[in-house]
C-alpha cells in the first residue's frame, strides 16, 4: 500500500499533466487550474516541514553544545526574526517589507552585502586558479586556453582597442562552436529528462520512494 498509492498518484498525475498541455479543452484547463491551486498548498506544507526540521536540527546542536553550536543561533534568529519584522511587527514601529522598514534595512545592509561579497570572492579564486591550473599541456587544452583568452578580450572594451578581430572572433566562438556544443548537451539532457520522467511516471524508476514499503 505504501508503494502502490504514491505510484498511482504519480502515474495518474503525470499522464494527466502531459495530456492537458496538448489538449486545449475546458476540461483540461479545469484540471490544470486545480493543479495550480494545489501545488502552492502542498508546497506550504513543505515549508512548514523544512522550517520545523531546520529548527529541530539547530536547537538540538545548541542544546548539546555541538561543534560550532554558536553559528546555529545565526541560523535560527534571522529565520524567525525576518518574518516577524515583515508581517507581525507593527507598521508604526517600522514593520513591513517596504522601505523604510527594519526588514528592508536588514535586507539592504546585511543580506545584500553578504551575498555580493560571497559572489565577488569568485574573482579572486578564479585569478588564482587560472594562474595555477590553466596550462597548455595538450592540443585540446591549448585550444581551450586560446579560446578563453580571445573571448575574455572580446568581451571587454580593451579587446576592441587591441584589435577589432578580438570581439569579432570572440562572438564567432560564442555564436557557432559554443552554440553547437551547448545545443548537443541540451538535447542530450532533454532526452535524458524525458526518459527519466517517463520511467518515474510508469513506475520503472522508484528510487524517489526512498525505500518506502520495502
Amino acid at each position: 500500500m505504501k508503494r502502490t498509492v504514491p505510484l498511482m498518484i504519480v502515474m495518474v498525475g503525470g499522464i494527466l499533466m502531459i495530456l492537458q498541455y496538448f489538449i486545449p479543452h475546458q476540461i483540461s484547463q479545469t484540471i490544470f487550474a486545480y493543479y495550480t491551486d494545489w501545488t502552492p498548498i502542498i508546497l506550504a506544507f513543505a515549508l512548514v516541514l523544512g522550517v520545523g526540521s531546520l529548527t529541530r536540527i539547530h536547537s538540538h546542536k545548541i542544546r548539546r553544545k555541538s561543534k560550532n553550536w554558536q553559528y546555529s543561533w545565526a541560523v535560527l534568529i534571522p529565520l524567525y526574526l525576518m518574518p516577524v519584522l515583515a508581517h507581525i511587527w507593527p507598521g508604526s514601529l517600522s514593520g513591513g517589507m517596504d522601505s523604510p522598514s527594519i526588514f528592508h534595512f536588514i535586507f539592504m545592509h546585511v543580506q545584500v552585502p553578504i551575498q555580493a561579497t560571497m559572489f565577488s570572492l569568485l574573482a579572486f579564486y578564479i585569478a588564482s586558479a587560472a594562474f595555477r591550473a590553466f596550462r597548455a599541456k595538450s592540443a585540446l587544452a591549448t585550444v581551450l586556453l586560446l579560446s578563453a583568452i580571445i573571448v575574455m578580450l572580446g568581451q571587454v572594451p580593451i579587446g576592441e582597442l587591441l584589435g577589432k578581430w578580438f570581439p569579432q572572433t570572440g562572438l564567432w566562438i560564442l555564436r557557432y562552436p559554443n552554440l553547437a556544443a551547448k545545443r548537443a548537451i541540451m538535447l542530450g539532457v532533454g532526452f535524458g529528462m524525458l526518459a527519466t520522467n517517463l520511467k518515474i511516471i510508469f513506475g520503472v524508476e522508484r528510487n524517489w520512494l526512498g525505500g518506502a514499503g520495502k
Binding site: 555580493a116 585569478a127 562572438l171
Partner: protein, 333 residues
C-alpha cells in the same frame, strides 16, 4: 639561484599577491575613469530596437530573477530596460521569482526613483492620484497635465512622472513562479490580486488594459539562474510572448541556442550586455548619460587583462622551467 628555481618560485607564488593584484585592478579603475568605448552587438540591439518600437498601448514585464550575488550584472540590465520603458510611456509589470529577488525589485525601484540618480523618474504612489483615477483620467498625457494642474511640479533633473498603476506595477514575489507565469497567461489579476504594496491590482488602469500575458508585448527576465527558461517554456512556447534574456556572463554561453532558435528576441550577457544597452540609451537621448554597467567595463577590462597576464606567466614558468616534463610540482599557498 638556478633558472629552474626562479620558475619554481614564480609558480609557487603566494596566492595573496594574486588576490592583492585583483583587488588593485578592481578598485583603481573606479577612480580613474578610462571611459573605453563599448561597441554594441546585435544580441542587445535587437532588444533595444524592439523596446523602442513599443508605446503607451503596449506593456512589458521586467522579471527580477536574480539574488544580490549577481546584482552587479543583473541590476543594470533591469534598470536600463525600465528607464527605456518609462521614457516611451510603456507600462512595466515587475515580478520576482524568489523572495530574495523581491528585494532586488524594490532596490531597482529605489534607484530609478531616487532624486540623486542622474536621469531619475519621479514616482507618484497609487493612492496619491486616486482622485484623478476616480475621475477616469488615466491616459498618460491627460494624467500628467491634470496632475501638474493640481500644483505638482516635476523636480529638477527628473526625466518624467511615473504613476503607480499606470506606468508600473510592482507585483513582486509569488510562490511557485513557473505556475504563476502559466496562470498569468490566463489572468494576471488572479495570480496577483494585490501588488507588493498591497494595492488592488484590479483597480490599476494598466491591468485593466492588459489582463493577461496574451495582452503583453515582451518580458525581460534579468536572471542569475536557470529560471529564465521558465519564461520561454511557459510563456513563449504556450502563448508566443516575446522574451528577452538578461543573463550573467557565465550563463550567457548556455543560452545561445534559444537565441539562434528565435525563442528569445535578444540577450544581454553580463555587465557587457548591460553596458551596451546603456550606450544605446545614451546615444538615442533616452538617458542623459551611461550608468553603472558602463563604468564597470573599465574594471572588467583591467581584471581580464590581469588574469590573462597571470595565465601567460603561469604557462611561461611552467614550460620554461621544464615542469611539463616532470610529474611533481610543489603546490603554492
Amino acid at each position: 639561484m638556478s633558472a629552474v628555481n626562479i620558475w619554481e618560485k614564480m609558480l609557487n607564488i603566494d596566492r595573496r599577491w594574486i588576490f592583492l593584484g585583483i583587488a588593485v585592478v578592481s578598485i583603481v579603475p573606479f577612480f580613474i575613469n578610462f571611459g573605453m568605448p563599448v561597441v554594441t552587438t546585435t544580441e542587445v540591439e535587437d532588444i533595444f530596437y524592439y523596446m523602442d518600437d513599443l508605446g503607451p498601448d503596449n506593456a512589458i514585464f521586467v522579471s527580477f530573477d536574480f539574488a544580490p550575488g549577481t546584482q552587479a550584472e543583473n541590476m543594470p540590465m533591469a534598470v536600463a530596460v525600465m528607464r527605456h520603458a518609462f521614457h516611451n510611456n510603456v507600462p512595466v509589470f515587475m515580478t520576482a521569482n524568489w523572495p530574495l529577488h523581491h528585494g532586488m525589485m524594490l532596490a531597482a525601484m529605489e534607484y530609478v526613483f531616487n532624486p540623486s540618480t542622474v536621469g531619475f523618474y519621479q514616482e507618484v504612489p497609487f493612492d496619491d492620484w486616486r482622485e484623478l483615477r476616480e475621475a477616469d483620467v488615466t491616459a498618460k498625457g491627460e494624467l500628467v497635465e491634470a496632475w501638474e494642474n493640481q500644483g505638482n511640479q516635476l523636480s529638477e533633473g527628473a526625466l518624467g512622472w511615473v504613476f503607480e498603476g499606470r506606468d508600473y506595477a510592482a507585483m513582486g514575489y509569488a510562490p511557485v513562479f513557473n505556475l504563476v507565469i502559466l496562470g498569468m497567461t490566463v489572468s494576471i489579476e488572479t495570480q496577483y490580486p494585490v501588488d507588493a504594496h498591497g494595492n488592488s491590482t484590479g483597480e490599476m488602469p494598466m491591468l485593466q488594459e492588459h489582463k493577461s500575458l496574451r495582452e503583453v508585448d515582451m518580458a525581460l527576465t534579468s536572471s542569475g539562474s536557470g529560471a529564465c527558461v521558465w519564461w520561454v517554456t511557459y510563456a513563449r512556447e504556450k502563448i508566443g510572448l516575446p522574451i528577452a534574456f538578461g543573463l550573467t556572463a557565465v550563463m550567457a554561453t548556455d543560452y545561445y541556442p534559444y537565441l539562434q532558435a528565435g525563442q528569445v528576441i535578444g540577450q544581454m550577457g553580463g555587465l557587457r550586455g548591460a553596458a551596451e544597452y546603456e550606450v544605446l540609451l545614451a546615444e538615442n537621448g533616452i538617458t542623459p548619460s551611461t550608468d553603472k554597467a558602463f563604468t564597470g567595463m573599465d574594471v572588467q577590462s583591467a581584471a581580464h587583462i590581469f588574469i590573462i597576464l597571470l595565465i601567460i606567466m603561469g604557462n611561461l614558468a611552467f614550460f620554461a622551467g621544464g615542469f611539463h616534463k616532470k610529474t611533481l610540482l610543489k603546490g603554492g599557498r
